[in-house]
Amino acid sequence: MKSLQISLPGLELKNPIMPASGCFGFGREFSQLFDLSLLGAIMIKATTFEPRFGNPTPRVAETTAGMLNAIGLQNPGLEKVMNEELPWLDQFDVPIIANVAGSQEEDYIAVAKDISKAPNVHALELNISCPNVKTGGIAFGTIPEVAKILTKKVKEVSEVPVYVKLSPNVTNIVEMARAVEDGGADGLTMINTLVGMRIDLKTGKPILANKTGGLSGPAIKPIAIRMIHEVSQHVSLPIIGMGGVQSAEDVIEYYYAGASAVAVGTANFVDPFVCPTIIEELPELVRSLGFEHISECTGRSWKNG
């Protein structure tokens, strides 16, 4: 499957398909279903300095062709991720992208510093865009200058390349992308979820205990495609695209928009075998579209010819 091998900052991947953060835990559950070494990479669940329980339940609600989640960054905390999850994942031949979250600068820095030292962590994904955490977080993802400074500080301590995960809940996504590029980011991952809500017909109250949640799934794909199309023309960082990917065809659409790799989130819940299925189907699709290598597809929607 030479046609799928790709190189990105810090990442030498056998294929460009990876589960998106928060949709695959730390891989344990899916390892019962298929060999994790098949994956291009794994974006593990957001890790914060302290363990977090997250939000009260219900934490998920279905929407038309999408879902809302308000998990609230539940995770066992840096120490346990370092001592238990990452060593366990080391049995697989798959690079880990560690999703780093926090509610203040120091948290991010502390997590980034440590977790980037784990031997199988090949890159960080700076989660400045989680819509489900009340304190602080929002500014990191919506104010360019704040995002830039955070990126810079995390870069200073990280031993591996840093990808910044952009929030779609902004007026100007290019401005955000440029800011984190200025801050020294090695790549972008986009998009995180859009803030949404569903209300229960009978009770009249929001279905999610947290009221609002992040919208993901096929419903948001056209928004992600548009943003990647825009951003990829204005920054020179590689982009790992995500949002509603369900099939090999969707992966190509992301490439055409400007992505260099693709992550799969919600679709893992619909079909837990979706990642290996896409990986299996991609080479033939790439070939049938007339390409030798998938990377030829990147940015075709705006490149000449």
Binding site: G22, C23, F24, G25, R28, E29, F30, Q32, L33, K45, P51, R52, F53, G54, T57, P58, R59, V60, A61, E62, T63, T64, A65, G66, M67, N69, I71, Q74, P76, G77, G217, P218, Q246, T266, N268, F269, V270, D271, P272, F273
Partner: protein
């Protein structure tokens, strides 16, 4: 082992108002060895409804590779499921979750099985297995009203069976807890599945007994990866320790998690 398989519909019938009994056939029945597990169903080939629906396994027929579920057609997903015909295929992920421990009741002991509404189904396979083990079973089933009562006869075949309806249109008027108290039912082990208030009452009333409760929570993945379905543990009610209903449950020992 968790499998994903297109299982074929053997039969489907409305057995009470909006309550459907659905029997599927598939290889993954081989993996179903315990009572109280559930499956996660994709009810359409479309992106809508997007998510799978968790439904308990109520009857396992290993000889025919068939299993049965009983569900209420409530929202769009279950309504669509109820329109499927014999011969159609349903995308099943399962079996999932941890079962009721039948070994908690020894031969000769008495088990009380308490079900509320759509929590009744998983107790059926449980009861069959307990009976097979030589455990005496008593069933107390609660429903809203007569039109949604189901399976009371099937349970009666396995053991003593009492039905309560909220409006008194069938069986005893009131709640399952009324029956247990009024009839002074005694037991060694209690197994229950149903609405949370019912489970809470049972947990409170029988603190000294072996009690197993099956919980419900809105789910994403159904396999333990998304953290949608967590609950606090009882010994750390506001801390960060947790259990996942889908993979640590849905059956918990009373007192283990915060209801």
């Amino acid at each position: 082992m968790i499998k994903k398989e297109l299982c074929q519909i053997v039969s489907q019938a409305e057995i009470a108002e909006h309550i459907f009994k659905l029997t599927l056939q598939g290889e993954l029945v081989r993996e179903m060895n315990e009572p109280g597990q559930f499956v996660h169903l994709k009810v359409s080939d479309y992106a809508e409804p997007l998510l799978r629906r968790p439904i308990s396994i109520s009857d396992i027929n290993k000889d025919e590779n068939q299993f049965t579920m009983i569900y209420r057609a409530e929202g769009r997903g279950t309504a669509l499921l109820s329109e499927r015909k014999p011969g159609d295929f349903v995308d099943v992920l399962g079996p999932l979750g941890n079962a009721f421990p039948i070994e908690a009741a020894s031969t000769g002991e008495t088990a009380l099985l308490v079900g509320g509404g759509i929590g009744v189904p998983p107790l059926y396979e449980l009861s069959k297995r307990l009976v097979k083990r030589g455990v005496k079973v008593i069933h107390v089933l609660g429903f809203q009203s007569e039109n949604v009562v189901f399976y009371d006869e099937d349970f009666t075949k396995l053991g003593e069976t009492y039905v309560a309806t909220v409006d008194g249109s069938y069986g005893t008027k009131g709640f399952v807890t009324n029956i247990i108290e009024d009839r002074k039912l005694t037991f060694d082990v209690l197994y229950s599945c149903g609405p949370t208030p019912m489970l809470k009452a049972l947990e409170n009333n029988y603190k000294d007994k072996k009690v197993y409760l099956s919980l419900e929570e809105r789910m994403g993945c159904g396999i333990g990866a998304c953290f949608a379905c967590v609950c606090h543990t009882a010994d750390d009610p506001s801390g960060h320790t947790y259990k996942k209903v889908c993979s640590d449950g849905p059956v918990f020992k009373a007192g283990e998690v915060l209801l």
